[in-house]
Symmetry: C2
Subunit: 150 residues, 2 copies
DNA sequence: CAGCATCCATGACGATACTG
DNA sequence: CAGTATCGTCATGGATGCTG
């Protein structure tokens, strides 16, 4: 920040420089670690279980509201509506209304949202792949805590 | 699944087949869309803003508790402790205690957690890249709603 | 019947105070 | 410093009712 390198020993300056590396994201396009940054707020919305599951499903095929609700176990009508709305507002999901009787509403992935699919999918893939190892880690952790309680 | 195509009309068989395509994930390694599935529960834990931010930071360097708290804007002590513990239990993060006075606790990314980094990073990258477009989409959406309120 | 709005109970979350 | 405990608050979820 300041040009006080003259008063800083060489090895410390190096340390500070490598520190700066960690802040690269900050310099680039906003600091996602700052609560007020728009990038962080966007991340908060997409790094969410409901958003990820919805995007994952819509990435495979267009779906109606009730179909989404039926496929995503444990989601409430309220959270589904709320999340879909946020995704639509962010331009990640498209909402198409067919004027039938009764009305038919179909949700699909928007071009902007398609870019997110890769990240969501690799998260899912990772979960599927590592589930067994994670379960083992949990057992080991619980066992360690249990025996330590003596 | 079954060889009963003989009793199923042609067009229905096709419908069922394309249905099966959507269930591919189900056949592979558990159904992440079912609330009770361990894979889904794991996904719920990692598709979380705090988890993603913590993993992202620890992926760059080892950090102490207070340092993490200071870097992640808006996180409470409680959520940080809680999330770190869940990540540690899942084997994604390592917790090293140095018996100094007062104690020094350093968190680092575990081998298992390193595999998740790519997904977290691409999520962050996407957010940084598309933030502007998303903001535009939001304005468009809000404007549309506003004018529709006439 | 699809989809959204409203009410209420519950659990997650955040701020503060306190301990090893 | 690194947490745990407590409590007040707010978001989440479930049930219900409304509209087209």
């Amino acid at each position: 920040m300041q040009e006080r390198t003259d008063t800083i020993p060489g090895h410390l300056a190096v340390t500070l420089a490598s520190r700066g590396d960690g802040r690269r994201a900050h310099d680039r396009r906003g600091n996602a670690y700052a609560a007020e940054c728009p990038t962080r707020q966007l991340l908060d919305r997409i790094a969410d279980k409901w958003s990820v599951l919805i995007l994952l499903l819509l990435g495979e095929e267009d779906l109606r509201f009730s179909e989404l609700k039926r496929r995503i176990g444990g989601i409430s009508q309220k959270m589904l509506a709320q999340t879909l709305r946020a995704l639509e507002r962010d331009g990640l999901v498209l909402r198409a209304v067919e004027p039938t009787v009764p009305v038919t509403v179909t949700y699909s992935i928007a071009p902007l949202g398609r870019g997110l699919m890769a990240a969501c999918r690799s998260m899912l893939e990772w979960a599927e792949t590592c589930m067994v190892e994670v379960a083992a880690a949990q057992r080991a952790y619980d066992l360690r805590r249990e025996t330590a309680e003596s």
